[in-house]
Symmetry: C3
């Protein structure tokens, strides 16, 4: 005879993902230790099992907060947000200091994170799916430390997942990091402007030239300091939040291998995470096929 299993509370407390330290990073590709995941199967909130899932009229309504990356502003999300709203979701794409209409270059990582957290609190948002793209991954890591109770799930979209004590620049190959350092030093306002060849070939590789030029013409130099700030992420690695990683398979911004890259290199740091993949480059598919990226974000964000 087999024992009766309480499926709502399957024995996750003993699970090693629940270990309460982050000192052991030996298994970067695997499942490093991570705080306990005690969540049980959530109830099905709409629809029945008889009908097919995933159709537009049957999606579980979610509240998305979308955080863009470097050399971008909140308009990066316009097409994706419109697609998500069409399928019944609530979407916010807060701007943060040093971007969009804010001309300041005197910004820090903490100012950015605080701004995002303040936005979420001021709007009284709860149960949010907090999405970070690229550098935005580092911002949602820190935002999660500030307001974990408001977050339903973290979603990293080809986003940096930094180790405790790391900076974004630490995750760049040495030649790229040195290049950015030189661009920074030669700038007047401690910024970094993306050289066109780098943007065209590694951020925008799937797009035609007209789209690439249009997007490049809108790029403002990125405030450099936050990219080089080392982040204290001890609290992040003690959080007990569900996490997803969306890997865009044609993303060419980072080399994929040799100790670099989005997946499995950085995704593996999340401990237990949901994996979603899609054909997309780093920057342009979000503009040319926003519905595709919206679909990936829903698959990543739902319960």
């Amino acid at each position: 005879m087999r024992p009766v299993i309480d499926r709502r509370w399957a024995p996750v407390r003993q699970w090693p993902y629940a270990a309460n330290n982050t000192a052991d990073w030996r298994w970067e590709y695997g499942y490093p230790t991570f705080p306990q995941l005690t969540w049980s199967p959530p109830p099905v909130v709409n629809g029945s099992a008889e009908k097919g899932e995933g159709t537009a009229d049957r999606q579980q309504p979610l509240t998305f907060v979308l955080v863009h990356g470097s050399w971008a502003d909140s308009s990066y999300w316009d097409g994706i947000a419109a697609e998500l709203r069409k399928t019944g979701h609530t979407v916010y794409a807060p701007e943060y200091p040093g971007h969009g209409s804010d001309p300041s270059n005197e910004v820090s990582h903490a100012m950015m994170t605080r701004s995002i957290a303040d936005f979420i609190v001021s709007k009284q948002l709860n149960d949010i799916v907090l999405v970070g793209h690229s550098f935005g991954g580092t911002l949602i890591q820190k935002t999660a430390e500030l307001i974990p109770e408001r977050i339903k799930r973290l979603v990293f979209l080809d986003a940096f997942v930094l180790k405790d004590g790391e900076s974004t620049a630490d995750e760049l190959p040495p030649a790229t990091r040195e290049g950015f350092e030189k661009l920074r030093q030669s700038s007047e306002h401690d910024t970094i402007m993306l050289p066109f060849p780098l943007f065209r070939e590694t951020f925008a590789n799937l797009a035609g030239l007209e789209v690439v030029r249009r997007l490049y013409d809108k790029i403002r130099p990125e405030p450099a300091k936050p990219l080089f700030e080392k982040l204290d992420l001890q609290a992040f690695y003690k959080l007990d939040l569900p996490k997803s990683y969306v890997y865009l398979t044609e993303d060419n911004v980072l080399p994929q291998g040799g100790g670099y890259g989005w997946h499995p290199h950085m995704s593996g740091r999340l401990g237990l995470f949901r994996l979603i993949k899609g054909h997309s480059d780093h920057m342009t598919t979000a503009r040319t096929e926003p519905g595709k990226i919206a679909g990936l974000l829903y698959a990543a964000g739902r319960d």
Copy 2:
């Protein structure tokens, strides 16, 4: 002048895949030594070269024997088997001890393997395409040792390919293995029940919650012992059988890298093998899109 080539008997005997030892595992990602592959181009059994191939009415009829993995039973194959039969194939999905209607937890790896081999012999099956999914890979490795003469080809579907002397647990990252050990120790009948978060995020990442819950509700705790048994696979690595590996690109059960994972980590142990890939997670695409998986199995199993 070039020599006349006997194409039916291309010089495969000298091929190093034909080396007769398995001691040298240095090239795990590559082509380790493997017994000789002396097969020559098989005759085309149906259809002509004028018509397109791959259409449903033109498939080479195959006999599939499908072996499921852990936390599953033979109903795992229902949809896939139906699709394969529709296109003219013969399909068997034998149940093995400790699964399906058998409530026993007192099972060994050898009992499982023997049961599968006995099934094949009792049905007088020959020229079979023997497919293993997940833990089922270890079962077809051992089954192949028992009845190699009945097997046309081995197909591993995101399946474990163990080295000689390994257990399935040896291929898990340390944190996962320790987690399974704790679950095993805290069970009453030496079983392991999958925690829901682990199932949802890594076995069922592409499915909607309703599908995930429906599948999770059917899962029985898995007898633990066979997962930890070290297997003698010396005979397997001397077999001369064609092999295919089907890699499901969204499978999140194992980390893909750092010395773990389905492909190329375990596939590379097969020596010469045919590679087929498809978008699928570990457990649910077989249910939600069985025709897709059936198509992958045909592409993997045909001559």
Copy 3:
């Protein structure tokens, strides 16, 4: 206030890709040093931003020169060339010594390269997109040294990118290399004939048997010497040419990992490159779905 940015001349001169030595190969997966890339956004030559790009009647007209690999001849490109011509491109697929109608096996890598360069010069071709498939990658590396001024971009299609001083054979796993060496020694005319199992499983894994046989029947033994020649590529690594790598995700000719493989292993040597991916095996998708491969080559070759 932010500085005005001259976007046509973004600061690429300081970029470390511009470093003028290739000695440091430590970051093979990443961005090794590479000559400077001074190109700026090219003008849009046809069409306006209002209409969608990428449609057949809106492609930027390109001149492709297509260089096939081993165990092939220029007919490898027939279907792809026809598709490219349909969309307005000019396409050449020169044959080189030891292949096609040339029965000689007494060929060297330099003879092949010289033949391709002579073809391009004799046709007075300029601004070409020079594409190499497989072994053809090594040929376009050397051709680029001879006539860099005629090349608009190099495109590697699951092609070898050799390091300075390497041979093609150096990029094969030891067991494969030894196998080729034995086949070479046992041949009468210093050639290597592909064993059928190797061709079927690793070059032609996605095709049905009829296609595989038809293609295999046309294969001539490959002159062995050029595969084992060490190439001086110092000049190549000083060239300032845009480059793309097209990675075919089901290509099973080389293991993908453990220090071998097309991408990111060899692609990473290109320094800054554009990444394009597609579902295809090494040899047969070019025949069964030439329009798909043509689309990848256009995406790789356009400005």
